[in-house]
C-alpha cells in the first residue's frame, strides 16, 4: 500500500495520467503508422527464401505426446531404421546430382493448434515434403496448411473421408483434387468390410450401438458408416454427437441398454473409450460383439483397461507381423520389423510401425520419379501417382476413391488375453481376413460377451 499513499500524497497523479495516456496513444499511432508505411512499399518482402540446394528436407509431424501418444510410440524406432536404409542413408541421385536427405521430426502434442504451428514452421524452413500420421486432429491441420502453402504432404492413419472433409472436400462427391495433399490408409467402406463380416459370424439381433463423437472421425462415421450398415439390414442406435472429453456416458449407456443393442461400434479418442468401457461394464451394458475404431489399436491402450476388459474386443489392423509383405527400402519383412522393435524397445509390436515406415517408402517412390526434388508441384504430382508395394502391401494412389488417396486393406483382429506367465498380457490376433485373404487367420472369432 505504500506506493498507493505516496502516489496520492504527491498530488500529481491526475496530471501525469493524462500525459501518459496521450503518450501511450502516440506510441500506438507511431507503430500503426510505421506498419502502414512498410506495407505500402510491398514488393521487397523476403518471404520464404530457398533452402540448401543439395539437401531434400522432409518433415515428420506425429503426436509424440498427448492423448494420441500411443499412436507414435514406435515412430522414433522406425525413424532410426529408416535413417540407416536406402536413400535416407546414402542420398538420392536425381538428374546426375546426389541429394542428401534431412528428416526433421516435430511433436504435434496431439493438438490441432500445435500441429498447424509446426507444419507452418517446417514449411517456412523449406520442407520439400511433409509426412504426418495418426488421427485427423494431427493430419488435417497439417494437410490444410500444406495445401494452402503449396508444399507436398503425405498423411496416414486417418480415414480418408475425415482427411478429405478436413481439406474442405465432400467425401460423398470426391471430385475436388487437392493437389498438394495425399494420403494412404482406408475409409469407411473398408471399416464396413472389416466389421460387418465379424458381426455376421456372431448371432445377434442386428441392433448396433454407435458411440460417435462430434469430431472429424465421429462425423465421418455418422454420415458415412451408418448408411452403409443400415443398407445391409442393421438397425442403428446413435448415442448422439457427444463432445470429446465427456466424463459421464450414463445416458448413452442406458439408451444402448434400452434399445437392446447387441453390437457395439465406436471411434472415440482413447481416454474417452476407457471412461465409457469402465462405465458400460459397471452399468451392465455387455454387447455380444464390440468392434472399436481409433482405440485399442495398440497394446499400450489395453493397459488402461486391463486384459479382462479388453479380451475379445475386435478392431481393425492395417499392419502386423502376420502381413505377408516386406520393405521396399531394404527388403525387411513385416515379422522382422515387429521382432526388431520388440528386441530394441522391450515393448510389444504395434501396427503404426508399418504405417510410419510406409510414409518413408512412399516418399522414396515419389522422389525417385521427379526431375527436381525442390519443384513442389512435381513432387506433389509424383505422390498422386505412386504405385508400389511395400511393408503395408500394394498401394496405388492413382486408383483410390479420391484424388491423392491410396487404399490399404485392413483385416479384422481381436485382442486375446494371454495366460499368466506369458510375455505380454494381451495379443492382437487376426480373426477375419475378408478384405485381405492373403493374411493368415491367427485365432478363432469369439463373442466379446457371451
Amino acid at each position: 500500500m505504500e506506493d498507493q499513499e505516496s502516489g496520492r500524497l504527491a498530488g500529481q497523479d491526475l496530471q501525469l495520467s493524462r500525459r501518459s495516456v496521450l503518450r501511450g496513444i502516440g506510441f500506438g499511432a507511431a507503430a500503426a503508422g510505421a506498419g502502414g508505411l512498410l506495407a505500402a512499399c510491398g514488393s521487397a518482402i523476403k518471404g520464404a527464401g530457398s533452402g540448401a540446394a543439395g539437401t531434400i528436407n522432409i518433415g515428420l509431424i506425429t503426436p509424440l505426446t498427448g492423448a494420441f501418444a500411443g499412436f507414435a510410440s514406435g515412430d522414433q524406432f522406425v525413424l532410426s531404421l529408416v535413417k540407416g536404409a536406402s536413400i535416407y542413408k546414402s542420398g538420392i541421385k536425381i538428374g546426375g546430382k546426389t541429394y542428401k536427405i534431412n528428416i526433421n521430426v516435430q511433436d504435434s502434442q496431439s493438438s490441432p493448434t500445435r500441429a498447424a504451428q509446426v507444419a507452418q514452421q517446417l514449411i517456412a524452413n523449406h520442407a520439400d515434403l511433409i509426412l504426418t500420421t495418426s488421427t485427423p486432429e494431427v493430419t488435417n491441420p497439417v494437410a490444410a496448411a500444406c495445401q494452402k502453402a503449396g508444399t507436398p504432404s503425405l498423411a496416414t492413419v486417418v480415414p480418408w473421408e475425415s482427411w478429405y472433409a478436413g481439406l474442405g472436400g465432400d467425401p460423398l462427391k470426391p471430385t475436388t483434387d487437392f493437389k498438394y495433399a495425399s494420403m494412404f490408409f482406408f475409409g469407411l467402406k473398408e471399416f464396413n468390410g472389416t466389421f460387418e463380416p465379424i458381426w455376421n459370424r456372431i448371432h445377434t439381433n442386428k441392433i448396433v450401438a454407435c458411440q460417435y463423437p462430434n469430431d472429424a472421425d465421429g462425423n465421418a462415421f455418422r454420415f458415412g458408416f451408418e448408411p452403409l450398415i443400415k443398407a445391409d439390414g442393421y438397425t442403428v442406435v446413435d448415442g448422439g454427437a457427444y463432445t470429446d472429453g465427456t466424463a459421464d456416458f450414463t445416458s448413452m449407456i442406458s439408451l444402448f441398454k434400452n434399445k437392446n443393442c447387441e453390437v457395439f461400434s465406436n471411434c472415440p479418442i482413447p481416454p474417452d473409450f476407457n471412461t465409457f468401457w469402465h462405465q458400460a461394464s459397471q452399468q451392465g451394458f455387455k454387447p455380444k460383439i464390440a468392434t472399436v475404431a481409433k482405440v485399442l489399436l495398440f497394446p499400450a491402450d489395453c493397459d488402461a483397461l486391463g486384459p479382462t476388459l479388453v479380451n475379445n474386443i475386435a478392431t481393425d489392423s492395417w499392419w502386423g507381423p502376420y502381413m505377408p509383405y516386406s520393405s521396399s527400402l531394404d527388403g525387411m519383412t513385416a515379422s522382422a520389423l515387429a521382432a526388431a522393435y520388440e528386441a530394441k524397445s522391450g515393448q510389444q509390436w504395434l501396427q503404426s510401425l508399418g504405417s510410419t515406415y510406409s510414409l518413408f517408402e512412399v516418399a522414396k517412390e515419389a522422389l525417385s520419379k521427379v526431375s527436381d526434388p525442390h519443384d513442389k508441384a512435381e513432387v506433389a504430382d509424383a505422390l498422386h501417382n505412386v504405385n508400389y508395394s511395400g511393408i503395408c502391401g500394394p498401394i496405388n494412389f492413382a486408383a483410390g476413391p479420391a484424388p491423392g488417396v491410396g487404399i490399404i486393406r485392413p483385416v479384422g483382429v481381436q485382442w486375446k488375453a494371454q495366460p499368466a506367465g506369458s510375455k505380454y498380457p494381451v495379443e492382437m490376433k487376426v480373426v477375419d481376413n475378408s478384405l485381405n485373404p492373403s493374411v493368415p487367420i491367427g485365432a478363432n472369432l469369439v463373442a466379446t460377451n457371451a
Partner: protein, 364 residues
Amino acid sequence: MSAVGQDTQAAGGQHPRVAARGPAAGRVVTRSRRSALWAGLAAVVAIAILGYLPYLVFSDTTGLMVQFFQLLIMASMWNLLAGYAGLVSVGHQAFIGLGAYFVVLLAMHGLSPFTAIPIATAAAGVVGLPVWWLVSRLRSGYFAITMWVIASVCMLIIIQISSLGSGTGIALSGLTQSPTLLAADTYWATLAVAVLAIAGIYALLRSRLGLALTAIRDDEAGAKSIGGRVGSVQRLVFLVTALGCGAAGALYAISQQFIVPTAAFDVSFTAEMIFITIIGGIGTIEGPIIGTIVFFILQQTLSADGTWYWIVLGLVAIAVAIWAPRGIWGLVSEKFGIRLFPVGYYVWPAGEQPRRLLARSARP
C-alpha cells in the same frame, strides 16, 4: 513494502512515506529514474525495427514471431486480469475461441479476415458484458471455475453449428494473398495488436484507474476501504481482457487457417497464459514479456523431444514458484532497480533529484 508492490522506490534508501510527507520544498516526484523520453524513443525504434522485419528476415522467423506475439497478447491480458484486478480466470479461452469463430463467420460472408479482426475483437468484447454480469459476484475459485464453464458452454454451442464445421473443424476462407504477402500481413497484424495491447495496458496502469488497480492488486479489501471503486474497475479490466483475448483469437484464426472448436477453446491456452505470467512475474507489465520469451525458448528447443519438454516445463514452474515467487522479472527488477514500463512513482528527497531535473534548476 508489500510483497508485490514495488512500484515506488525512494531514492537514497529513504522510506517513501517519509519522503512524501507533505509538499515539502525540494522534494520531487517522478515516474522513473531516468528520462522517460529515452525509453519512449527506444520503444519507437524497437517497434519500427520489428515492423521492418519481413524485409530483413525470411518468413520462418516472422512465422515464429507471430506465435510469440499471440502468446504475449494472451499472457499480458491474463496478467492484467489476475495480477492487477485480482481475478483469476481459467476460462479466457472463451474469448479466444469466439474471436476466432467471429473471423471465420465474417470471412464466410465475404469480408477479408484482416478487416474482420477489429469487428471480431469488438464482438468478443460485447460478449464479455453479459459474461461479466454472470460472474461479477463470484470470487476466487468460484470465479475461476465458472469462467471455465462459460468457455465450455461457448465451445458446446459452436460445436453444434454445422455451417461452422461442427466438431470436424473448418478452413478459414478469404485469404487470397500470395503465401509471401500473407505471412507478412499476418505478422504485421499480430505485431500491431501486440503493440496496442501492451501500450493500452501501460496507459491504463498510468491513468487514475491504474492507481486503483495497483491498490486492488496489493489488497482488495484495503483498496475498497480507502474509496477505490473496485467493482467498476474490475468490470473495465474484464472487458479489456475480453477484447484482448478476442483479438488474439482473431489472429489465431488467421495464422492457423484451419479452426477446430476443441482446439480454439482449449483450456491449454489459459494454462500457457498462467505459466508465462507466473514465471515472468505476475503484476508487472514486463513479467509476461520475459515469461513469453522463456516459454518460447523452451518450446522451440525442447518440444521435438516429446515427453521431456513437459517435464522441463514442470520443473521450471516448480523452481520459479519456490525460489522466485515474484517471477524472473521480480528478481531482476529487485536486484537492479530497473523498470521498463514506469507505472509507479519515484520520490526524490531534497538534494538527491535526478540529473535531468538538477540540470534544469541551474545549481551553482
